[in-house]
Symmetry: C2
């Protein structure tokens, strides 16, 4: 088989990475995709750097068995910690979800104040501030960890008054700092967009990684002459380490359509 | 070594099982203990029956390497699903945290209405209602899953207004049913006792498993002539699959004292 017609592999700690899948399918409709959600060990955002790296390597190794040509790390916590280790170990091109949205945020801020919300792991890694400062050292960057946002989204309380109160508490620092751009540094957070938007006000632009990551994938595939050559529509296979039914149910909200062909797989190597 | 002087093994998905350790140390000060907290895969309460059984078997196998004489499953989700599999596989005596508190609740309810709160896994297993009905089929039993209680406790929001609002929402059904006894069916929930107590009112008795489980351990050890014979104070070794420092920090609140000797171990077999 032509290397270019091999699938793109994508992993996340759970279901959130499907927002990235959705954008890839829009922008690159001919690409075959293989997705792995590590639902048995979710969440990653409360775990250590070492655990996140170990899990990420196992997930990548699992996807490589499907003969992927390209790896997308669709989890912010993994993108914060595991990219250097993955790139040391594996030969295929690998991208995470941080750099693409950072580029966009840096070019779109008007007042030079960018906020980032994410899991404890993502915020502790300082990866967002580092990447922003590398592009423009004059920008002001403020981060906040929002550990309750993922459980609130998974409870389905997208517009609940409790969610609003939690958001008010977590985001109060950003209001004082007058940021004009807020990066949603976790693939779950777009589900809470309406509450976050209400709390932050209309003048703050919310940015999530999914669309910009898909753009970056398209550009890297072209650069490396790895874009699919076939003409038929791409397929997508889903693997999870636990609860395929629950993944299908929650996943529908992230992907915007029904999920077919979900299999159980184990990333333990 | 005398079989009776071997350690008791205890596992939990994370830190909550330390409430059981605390009670064992009070009641059985001469026993050596080995604790395993599966902090790399926590939480269990949102995972499937199959995953919980698989993890529980791995945790038990890990503890058996320390030559334990007795196994305590200090996690409600594991106790709900994994005891039959564990007993089929391993020869040592094994107890969970459900039966001891159920016995107590059944004998202490005055109006015959018992409530149970727990994780989704524990509630879905129906293990509490089954065990209560087995002892007294005339009792009325009502359950509620409280998935946000664990993340709220881990966020340290023990008396936060958000926690009170979440409790009001989760517990409203119990107020209508006029239960007089509420079982805290998750080892994290005692941390939220004051909010739960406020919401339920003084007439409702809150019961958690830790003390009754320790009593049951004492009784089984005596029955089987397995109580420690030595006179010195028992020791306790702690193993976790991730983040020993965080475990030490949060664990202090559960154990009521500093934790020494925490090592990293992996339950993956």
């Amino acid at each position: 088989m032509d290397l270019r017609d091999k699938p793109i592999g994508i992993f996340d700690s759970g279901v959130g990475g499907l927002t990235v899948v959705k954008q890839i399918q829009k922008l690159l409709p001919n690409e075959d995709l293989v997705y792995f959600g590590d639902t048995a060990r979710v969440p990653y955002g409360t775990k250590s750097k070492e655990a996140i790296i170990r899990f990420s390597i196992q997930n990548a190794a699992f996807l490589l068995k499907s003969n992927i040509k390209f790896l997308v790390v669709a989890c912010n916590s993994s993108s914060s910690y595991a990219l250097p280790s993955l790139r040391r170990l594996f030969k295929i091109p690998i991208i995470g979800v941080i750099k693409p949205v950072v580029k966009q945020a840096v070019s779109s801020t008007a007042n030079g104040c960018i906020g980032i919300i994410g899991t404890r792991a993502t915020v502790s890694s300082l990866e967002y501030p580092k990447q922003i400062k590398r592009l423009r050292s004059d920008l002001k960057v403020k981060q906040a960890a929002c550990p309750l946002f993922v459980p609130l989204a998974e409870e389905g309380w997208m517009r609940h008054k409790v969610t609003r109160q939690v958001a008010l508490e977590y985001l109060s620092g950003f209001k004082r700092e007058r940021i004009d751009t807020l990066i949603l540094g976790c693939t779950h957070y777009p589900l809470l967009k309406s509450v976050i938007k209400d709390v932050m006000g209309k003048s703050v632009r919310l940015m999530d990684s999914a669309y910009y990551t898909a753009l970056e994938i398209k550009s890297v595939l072209q650069q490396k002459d790895l874009s699919a050559k076939r003409k038929r529509a791409g397929t997508c296979k889903f693997f999870v380490s636990d609860e395929p039914e629950k993944f299908a149910k929650i996943g529908k909200g992230f992907l915007g359509r029904n999920l077919k062909s979900i299999k159980e797989g184990s990333a333990d190597v």
